[in-house]
């Protein structure tokens, strides 16, 4: 094809990758429908789409992890087939999966050589890889201790190992699937610098993400996918986040939440010196102090794994803790585990972080899931039996109010999409009219359309004067919903800021454990 190079000359360059008419079905689900895409060499090409749009499937086909049902693959203009990952590696394609494919108890070196050893004996390969890693580290700012075990490395460093693995295999095309989901803003910025460097060296980068900002910041071209189909490919500089969002969802989307100023009332939740020690004896919460008032949202920001999960579990009543917790000035016993039932009686509802394991029973129906935790309520009992007909009717009504699709209470939770699963949990917890709502990762794995709805529901609850504690690893989400923001790092609150008086940079530093001036 013909493109304009930087000096304006017209030149003919074969695309680094060209996919034509790719289709792939998993059972009845058509993950990719007749997809075609061209990726030019030496560019960063973004692929954006909602969860389940088929981005990862498409890239996994290119990497030979899945096999396409139909379609053709061209690399540098030559038609080829990629039946397995071995063929993809041979064709110069490397992939960094969203869930890293590393052997946890192997060293960095062992992970790097796995599959591309130079002979039957390990030692020469290890020596060669050690030398090569030193060079790559210098060339691309990708330094990592070659003898460290993966399980001892931070997530950011594990990602570097994945990139090094690809480079060690001489990848010319690097696919990254949602690479920033697990990174702090600073780590993400560093990753982007590395990607730009790789591009400048002539490598082609394919970046899969659902974050509009990343697409705008770093890509030259962006392809939009929706429901398994390729919607369009545009030049990034000629589009806008609003336009991309609309293309992704297929209708106009409100990117910003309409946030009314908070009118904080009485202190509903008061937490002092909350500590949690896990089974291995490691202190996960190191004396957390916080409070949430009626009519406000306190957002907890932080990189995953810094104590947020333990905080929610302790407050939700299924993790033993020490410290003082008051709900509406009533002292709550946090020392005994498994007290979710008492918490609900005290007016606390909880939308857990992990909806598939903690929020729902996937093999049970929607109506059963919509009543869990409240199934002892007097109005649904019928002598020693439960009044299932009444529960189902109630479930049907909730499903309509929360726009849960398909609105069939007899479907298993497993059969709903991520967004609709989350709505089931939200409907169950919000409809009980709690005094305080704990919400963990409300939109993880949820598509933009449903995100908008979920955010509105949380805002409505706040405007009704309820207290809300929001935990999310999506900094954008915390910023746009919260009135106050507390940042957690290593089991402690690093600092608290007013949402309208802070920014991502300041919060990012706190998330990385860097103390700055307090306000």
């Amino acid at each position: 094809m013909t493109i304009n190079d930087q000096k304006g000359r017209r030149e003919t360059v074969a695309p680094a990758i060209e996919l034509v008419g790719i289709s792939k079905a998993f059972g009845a689900v058509q993950a990719n429908k007749d997809i075609s895409i061209r990726v030019m060499p030496g560019t960063i090409h973004g692929i954006i789409g909602e969860n389940g749009a088929g981005k990862s499937t498409l890239m996994s086909i290119l990497y030979g992890y899945y096999k396409a049902d139909k379609g053709e693959i061209f690399i540098k203009g030559n038609q080829t087939t990629i039946p397995n990952s071995e063929a993809a590696i041979a064709a110069g394609i490397g992939m960094v999966f969203q869930h890293f494919k590393l052997v946890q108890n192997f060293t960095v070196l062992e992970n790097v050589i796995l599959g591309v050893e130079d002979g039957a004996m390990l030692r020469p390969s290890l020596t060669k890889a050690r030398k090569s890693l030193t060079e790559l580290a210098k060339e691309y700012e990708l330094s990592v201790d070659p003898d460290a075990k993966i399980e001892d490395l931070s997530v950011g460093h594990q990602q570097r190992v994945e990139i090094l693995k690809a480079l060690y295999r001489h990848a010319n095309v690097l696919i990254l699937d949602e690479p920033t989901g697990v990174l702090t803003p600073a780590e993400a910025n560093q990753l982007f610098r590395i990607l730009q460097r790789l591009r400048d060296e002539g490598k082609t980068i394919l970046l899969i993400t659902h974050k509009l900002r990343e697409i705008m910041d770093i890509t030259e071209t962006v392809s939009v996918m929706r429901r398994g189909e390729m919607v369009t490919t545009v030049t990034t500089s000629k589009t806008s986040p609003a336009e991309l969002a609309e293309l992704m969802v297929g209708r106009e989307v409100l990117l910003r939440v309409d946030k009314k100023p908070a009118k904080p009332g009485a202190k509903i939740l008061d937490v002092e010196n909350l500590r949690v020690v896990d089974e291995a004896g490691i202190e996960r919460l190191k004396g957390v102090n916080l409070h949430v008032c009626a009519g406000e949202i306190l957002g907890i920001a932080g990189v995953a794994g810094n104590g947020q999960s333990e905080l929610l579990a302790a407050l939700g009543g299924y993790q033993k803790a020490t410290g003082t917790v008051k709900i509406n000035n009533k002292l709550i016993d946090v020392g005994g585990a498994f007290q979710g039932q008492n918490r609900r009686a005290d007016g606390l509802s909880h939308v857990p972080e992990d909806r598939q394991h903690e929020g729902l029973i996937m093999e049970f129906t929607a109506w059963e899931n919509l009543v869990f935790g409240y199934h002892h309520d007097a109005d649904i009992q019928n002598g020693i039996f439960m009044n299932n007909a009444a529960i189902r009717d109630e479930a049907q009504a909730k499903m309509e109010r929360f726009d849960i699709r398909p609105p069939d209470p007899r479907l298993k939770a497993r059969n709903f999409s991520g967004g609709n699963q989350q709505k089931i949990v939200l409907a169950r917890e919000i409809e009980r009219d709690p005094e305080i709502l704990l919400v963990g990762q409300p939109t993880r794995g949820v598509d933009i359309g449903a995100i908008e709805f979920i955010h509105q529901q949380i805002m409505t609850l706040k405007d009704k004067g309820k207290a809300i504690l929001l935990v999310s690893v999506e900094l954008d989400e915390v910023l746009s919903l919260s009135d106050r923001i507390a940042v957690m790092f290593d089991g402690s609150i690093m600092g608290e800021r007013l949402a309208n008086k802070t920014n991502e940079k300041e919060l990012g530093l706190l998330m990385a454990g860097v103390k700055t001036g307090t306000n």
Partner: protein, 323 residues
Amino acid sequence: MDVLNDFITVLNSTLRLSTPLLLACLAGLFSERAGIFDIGLEGKMLCAAFFSAAVAAITGSVWIGMAAGIASSLALSALHGVASITFRGNQLISGVAINFLAAGMTVLIAQSWFKQGGRTPSLKGNGRFNPVELPVAESLKDIPVFGPIYQGLISGHTILVYVALLMVPLTWWILYRTRFGLRLRAVGEAPEAVDTAGVSVIKLRFAAVGICGVLCGIAGAYLSTGLQAGFVKDMTAGRGYIALAALIFAKWRPGYALISCLLFGFLQAIALRPDLIERYLSFKVQIQLLDVLPYILTVIILAGFVGKATPPRAGGEPYVKEQ
């Protein structure tokens, strides 16, 4: 030198009795390190014990007998592989099925072939593995301490005892020094890493299960043609399960596997000599109580009383690509 002689006798039996455990334990190590749990060690050993003895009795050659034993064990391995790797079945159920199959089939065929109540005929001469005298054992026997140890403990075992002992460093070397070992360990920890590195998970796992079959075959052959002189019903007597316990005790490492198998072998060895306990510790023990010791230790190990053992992370799970 009575004490020394008694000591040597017990250790000598320890070595002999540890050998089948060690071979089975290393067999399990290869399989489980690759992520395939194998509760069918017992059945494979039993099957190999029968076919080794039966074919040795018919042909008069222990080597042909052992080859038949290994082949039969490999066939059961292939069954386990097809069920649990190709068809992603439950590895425990497949293993249990193999144990039942072996327990029934061996006696049935033995009765049909030899009509001796489910036994094979007693093996003689070249029909079994005979002790190997190491060089100069006879001439060194008069040297104090070292002589008797060399002659009575180190020398004079069947070849398979030495094979089992050599398998320990060999297994270590394969696991930690070769490409195959690296990939084998990786496939038991993170098969998706192996798959995305462009290496076949299925081939690797079949290779591991195959090695497991060969080692179980040798272990079974040793039971009926080295340790004993023929096959009797259920002659493995739970050794496959004890080997599994030893494997957990050894935390899936070859060096520790040697130590834990020697420990189990030692317990079996003192059960053979209750008179020694009476003589040295001056109290009388019920033989039944001694016999049950290895099994008690197995229960204790499996119940997790010996510290936390982390099995290979992907162990027991069929590999399915995530969607």
